[in-house]
């Protein structure tokens, strides 16, 4: 924390500081503030109508040098050197290429080393930095808040607005502190933290708020883990999620292609050091989560708030007090074809998906690879491993992770959004059940009629071995692997009290 009282200023939160720094003009009488945008990320799905709008109005793209585009949502993850089979997908990609050419936007196309999921590409290039404003026509833009940036998902009209003006009129926000103190047990990850947060505050609980994740458990996370958490802020309905920058942030950024260098680096760090929430700053709401008692967390329903600890059972809708929520739970169980009272660990899946802007960075792939290394996949199951970017894919291959996955029986794919959303060839068939490291378990999200359980990369890997939703410890308990096959830091001995079922 920085001490504002010494300078006589009102103590402010991280979010307020970033906002204030980007005020082009302050609103009054209900008119919004005009906020300057430092970085605009673009992809093929939400941009064509915005470029069209510019053309129709005879407007230019104000700042091509603050804009960057990648292809991710529509792109296939196999045979990427072949023309895209689906004609409408191909048209959308070709439209992006034409638009970027016409308006002078830097584009990383399929086949380029920097191509990949837009939220993986920004950080890996060093473009996502503390204290900046980032927007993208994609709700998971919240990912970039992990660096202490104000990162907002926007609609296509706003995309056009940013293209034309490099600003956005935005209504003020409320702030919510989400404090996670303590130490995560071995095998409990950032994904479990955020799934537990969403289950606690609900899919509308963050509405109107910018969340700031704080506490010792957040401080202990890598940048990848912080990105996983901020990524899913939108699933709690929040406008954004943020983590104050610290030494972990700086270490991640140092030396990246677009990170500041030389004197610029020193000046930037000096500014970044001022960003942390001041002592005495007041949040509009506060939520506390205990890291020490958290277990691996998974979803049973059709929104990300419908989750429980892996050791629990499918809840009974009859126990839900609110009539609307009860009806939603009943419909979710029907869609998911689950009976109340079923142990989560008895749920058998057909597919495991490791990927998406939530969990497709090299650290995620490494964690899963450690579990499946030398093991055999459950019979009849399929597993897709989809790196978040072409660069992640190459890094993983340099470490031999691709070989570990393919020896296990998984498919090693090219980078993209893949099975996170039913928009490209990677989809679930109707009725198919998937343990997925992605972010949304909505009806039909991964393909019409598909059933999604959101899980961490560790649970995804263990599930692929056992065939039912599992943590790495469950593999030992089931006699599928010996204890020495589990990485030492995840061994049951390291967390004897974690799971009552063991």
């Amino acid at each position: 924390m920085t001490n504002a009282s010494m300078s006589g200023e009102r103590p402010r939160t991280l979010a307020e500081k970033v906002w204030d720094k980007h005020l082009v003009s302050k609103g009054s009488d209900g008119t919004p503030d005009l906020i300057y945008i430092d970085l605009h990320l673009v992809h093929e799905v939400t941009s064509p109508q915005a470029f069209d709008g510019l053309r129709l109005a005879g407007r230019r793209l104000r700042r091509p040098d603050l804009t960057i585009a990648t292809e991710d949502h529509n792109t296939p993850t196999l045979a990427i050197d072949r023309p895209i089979k689906d004609l409408t997908s191909r048209t959308q990609i070709e439209t992006l290429r034409r638009n970027c050419e016409e308006f002078g936007v830097r584009l990383h196309s399929l086949g380029d080393i920097e191509q990949g999921i837009v939220h993986v590409v920004g950080p890996q290039l060093g473009l996502t930095q503390p204290g900046i404003t980032v927007v993208c026509g994609d709700s998971h833009t919240s990912t970039h808040g992990a660096f202490g940036a104000m990162a907002l998902g926007i609609g296509t009209s706003e995309v056009e607005h940013v293209m034309a003006t490099q600003t956005l009129p935005l209504q003020p926000f409320k702030t919510m502190a989400i404090t996670v103190d303590g130490t995560l047990r071995p095998g409990v990850t950032a994904k479990d933290v955020i799934l537990a947060v969403i289950a606690k505050i609900g899919t509308g609980g963050g509405q109107g708020y910018v969340l700031e994740y704080r506490g010792s458990a957040i401080r202990a996370l890598s940048m990848e883990g912080r990105m996983t958490i901020c990524n899913m802020s939108i699933e709690a309905g929040a406008r954004a999620g943020m983590v104050a920058p610290d030494a972990t942030t700086y270490a991640y950024l140092k030396g990246r292609a677009h990170s500041p260098a030389g004197q610029d680096w020193d000046d930037a760090v000096a500014y970044w050091e001022t960003l942390a929430t001041d002592e005495g700053a007041v949040f509009d709401a506060e939520v506390v989560l205990d890291a020490d008692t958290l277990e691996p967390f998974v979803t049973w329903g059709t929104n990300p708030g419908q989750g429980v600890s892996l050791s629990e059972t499918v809840p009974d809708p009859a126990g839900v007090a609110d009539a609307n929520e009860r009806a939603a739970a009943e419909r979710a169980l029907e869609y998911m074809d689950l009976a109340a009272g079923t142990p989560m660990k008895d749920i058998r899946v057909d597919t495991v998906f490791l990927g998406s802007c939530t969990n497709s960075r090299v650290e995620d792939l490494r964690a899963a690879a450690e579990i499946v290394k030398g093991q055999t996949m459950a019979p009849g199951l399929r597993m897709l491993v989809v790196p978040g970017s072409a660069r992640v894919r190459i890094e993983a291959e340099a470490e031999g992770l691709d070989k570990i996955f393919t020896d296990f029986g998984a498919e090693w794919r090219f980078a993209g959004c893949s099975m996170c959303l039913g928009m490209n060839p990677d989809q679930l068939a109707p009725g198919e059940r998937c343990a997925s490291t992605s972010n949304r378990n909505f009806e039909g999200r991964q393909g019409k009629g598909g059933r999604t359980h959101l899980v961490s990369p560790l649970v995804a890997a263990a599930t692929a071995i056992r065939g039912t939703l599992s943590s790495p410890w469950d593999l030992v308990a089931a006699g599928l692997v010996t204890a020495d096959a589990i990485p030492a830091e995840l061994a049951p001995a390291a967390a004897p009290a974690l799971d009552g079922a063991l």
Binding site: Q92, D138, T156, F442
Partner: protein, 202 residues
Amino acid sequence: MDKFMTVTGVALPLRRSNVDTDQIIPAVYLKRVTKTGFEDALFAAWRTDPEFVLNRPEYAQARILVAGADFGTGSSREHAVWALRDYGFDVVLCPRFGDIFRGNAGKQGLLAAQITEDDAQRLWSIIEADPGIELTVDLVARTARVGDFTVPFQVDDYTRWRLLEGLDDIGLTLRDEARIAEFESHREPWRPRTLPARQVSL
């Protein structure tokens, strides 16, 4: 954008909460590069069920949607708003909206009006007792009226003003262009730029 004052039309009761934008329009329909022609995509998965409320003939001319809490959560896709507009909806009444959806709606002339949970329940009961009944939404007075029953709704002042005036956001902002240029002149040199592209080796 046309000016929005009052709308009178058939109200459709959607007794569901947490209607995310993947339900309003599944991703497979997002591949078009135009802003129109999304009417067939609206609630596409649910419409395969003949019993789904949108398929009932009494509601064929519906212009006002009354939905449960947390309508429009999830993905930022503005296509959800385009699909509702293309189908013929001018208003969504609901106890709580997803933030991005609500912002998108205001930019496309779709009124996202917030009502209380109790009023949503009452409106559902009234509409279901008399399917096809018309409701009047008055943006000046911020009320929705059906028969003798009137409920107030909330919409922020700025969105209301823009809807009433039919104003274009970008045009409004560009009136402040000098201020934007002034702001840019102070931008620190270490803030990120995408151009010229820099590379680091693997």
